[in-house]
Amino acid sequence: MLKEPSAIPGFGLAFGYTLFYLGLIVLLPLSALVLEAAGLGLDGILRIASEPRVYAALRISFGLAFAAAIIDSVFGLLIAWVLVRYSFPGRKVIDAAVDLPFALPTAVAGIALATLYAPTGWLGGLFAAYGIKIAFTPLGILIALIFVGLPFTVRTVQPLVAEVDREVEEASATLGASRRQTLLRVILPIFAPAILTGFALAFARAVSEYGSVIFIAGNLPFVSEIAPQLIVIKLEEFDYRGATGIALIMLTLSFAILLAINLIQAWSRRRLGGV
């Protein structure tokens, strides 16, 4: 194995670094969290999870993150497609703008969105006229989560759109397939693994999002209070145990969901003929 020419030196060394690095950066802080929460015992954690306010916050966090990731996946595919397939004036600018949600401090994004969608804001005012409230409701949270997740879904699909040959679409058309058939039977299956990756990243980002949400959410318990916000509240009340309990629940749920997505991905990759 060591004799194979490889840019990164031998498996043993590389694997050692991988474990060390992952351990130091990812696992150490997380295990501190688990240790702290361990004091609660399984009972304690279940009790925290079944507190109505915590349960509501978790539902809001995960439910809205899921919805936001789905919306981002659809529009991410569309944006990636347009950016790769068409050339138009300003394409480079739009391409660069996609990354802005990465770069912007999330609090700035939150304040900007809250100002825009508040009943007195430009867009919020328009909707308010029809009796639709956006800021300070779950709808506002959803918009903030869509905003922060978008770059992930665009950037994961974009390279694949560039790679897939237009001839594949033409081949499908010559065989008699309509556009819809081509989209459903050829394009989407080819893009599925990348779309799933983008979905997983956007979802993970949305679950953990705090800065941009708290400004637009209104933070009403049972209505628009997200789980990270609840953690902060518990910390401010010096209830460290309770805070870590919620954190551990979030961590476990997130890990389970990401693992499931990874498994689905592996399965769909295998269907592509073993990448």
Binding site: D165, E167, V168, E170, A171, S172, A173, T174, L175, G176, A177, S178, Q181, R185, V186, P189, I190, R271, L272, G273, G274
Partner: protein
């Protein structure tokens, strides 16, 4: 199904423009579109397929005007240069695709048809594989089977052997010819390889600059080239500018004897094949030249000789035993050649 292309023009195809092009393809024929890159041959193929639409002109499938028909409605089979297989599908699913999207028959009927096609392209054991697990030649045959599955009215192939190595190319060429003879599909293929066009096709259409220069059999094109372009594009040739004294062409004022082919008599360019030039002693010859280079080839020697004072070069093929040295002065005798007037 015979196909007629009438006055087709296309300003900006993906590869080359077409300028008022006419072509008739008879039913059951295997025809090659041959030309240099940018000559419009791929654009023409795509126009027949319905992947590009002409700015002016008509495409007829039999008596039906197919010009406005979408690609899905034309019922053609198209084999792409890089095969464009669906890599997330097995070989079986790739071939079945056209039947499934057109809802041709039940699952059992489709399976039976795919089985036949797999047998036809000799890939029965590969039905469950994915394209990435196949060699180039096998992928090419899957692409062909997929195109044949829908009973195309015409089979169109874009540089079908372009991406394969020389040996597989020759095998597949022979195999495709046999397949054509067995199935009898009207077939049009694009190539830039003259050897391939001439070996495989019943007729060859030679394209240049978006127009057809000549359509004919291999003999027509080799022995009776219609234009200077065809003469120089198919087979090796050298050309020298000549005058004409009423009977004989002359190079730099010196008339020379030769057998003149073709109709043109007058000043222009004199085209000669490498095998139609003999090297003689310089004293007796009307045209003499200086040997510039001598290369050994698989079959003999290939030398470049510059006659007269200009930098014109003439290529000659000689036996490997010939005594010709670079830098020496030799006489040239042109056994036969063809005169073309300079266009424009």
């Amino acid at each position: 199904m015979d196909i007629r292309i009438v006055g087709v023009s296309k300003a900006f195809g993906r590869t080359g423009a077409l300028r008022g092009l006419d072509l008739e393809i008879s039913a059951g024929e295997l025809i090659a579109l041959l030309g240099p890159s940018g000559s419009g041959k791929t654009t023409l193929l795509r126009v027949i397929a319905g992947l590009e639409f002409p700015d002016t002109g008509q495409v007829y499938f039999g008596n039906e005007d197919a010009t406005g028909l979408a690609v899905q409605e034309r019922q053609i089979g198209f084999v792409f240069q890089h095969y464009a297989l669906f890599k997330h599908m097995t070989v079986f699913d790739n071939i079945a695709y056209g039947l499934r999207v057109r809802r041709r028959g039940t699952a059992t009927e489709i399976a039976a048809r795919v089985g036949e096609l797999l047998e036809l392209v000799q890939l029965t054991d590969f039905a469950a594989r994915h394209p990435r697990q196949l060699s180039g030649g096998q992928r090419q045959r899957v692409a062909l089977a997929r195109a044949l599955a829908v009973d195309p009215r015409v089979l169109l192939l874009d540089e079908p052997f372009g991406a394969l190595d020389a040996k597989i190319r020759r095998d597949l060429r022979r195999w495709l010819r046999e397949l054509h003879d067995r199935t009898g599909h009207t077939t049009v293929f694009v190539t830039h390889d003259q050897e391939e066009a001439i070996e495989l096709a019943d007729r060859v259409a030679i394209l240049n600059g978006g127009r057809i220069e000549q359509v004919g059999t291999a003999d027509d094109i080799y022995d009776r080239p219609a234009t200077a372009f065809v003469m120089s594009f198919v087979g090796d040739t050298s050309a020298i500018p000549v005058g004409f004294d009423g009977h004989r062409p002359s190079f730099e004022g010196r008339a020379f004897d030769t057998c003149l082919l073709g109709p043109h008599r007058g000043p222009g360019l004199f085209y000669v094949r490498p095998r139609d030039v003999e090297v003689t002693a310089p004293e007796a010859a009307a045209i003499t030249g200086k040997v510039r280079t001598v290369h050994r080839t698989a079959t003999g020697l290939r030398t470049q000789i510059s006659p007269g004072t200009t930098d014109t070069l003439i290529e000659i093929e000689l036996d490997s035993s010939a005594k010709v040295k670079a830098g020496s002065q030799v006489g040239l005798r042109f056994l036969r050649g063809r005169l073309f007037g300079v266009r424009g």
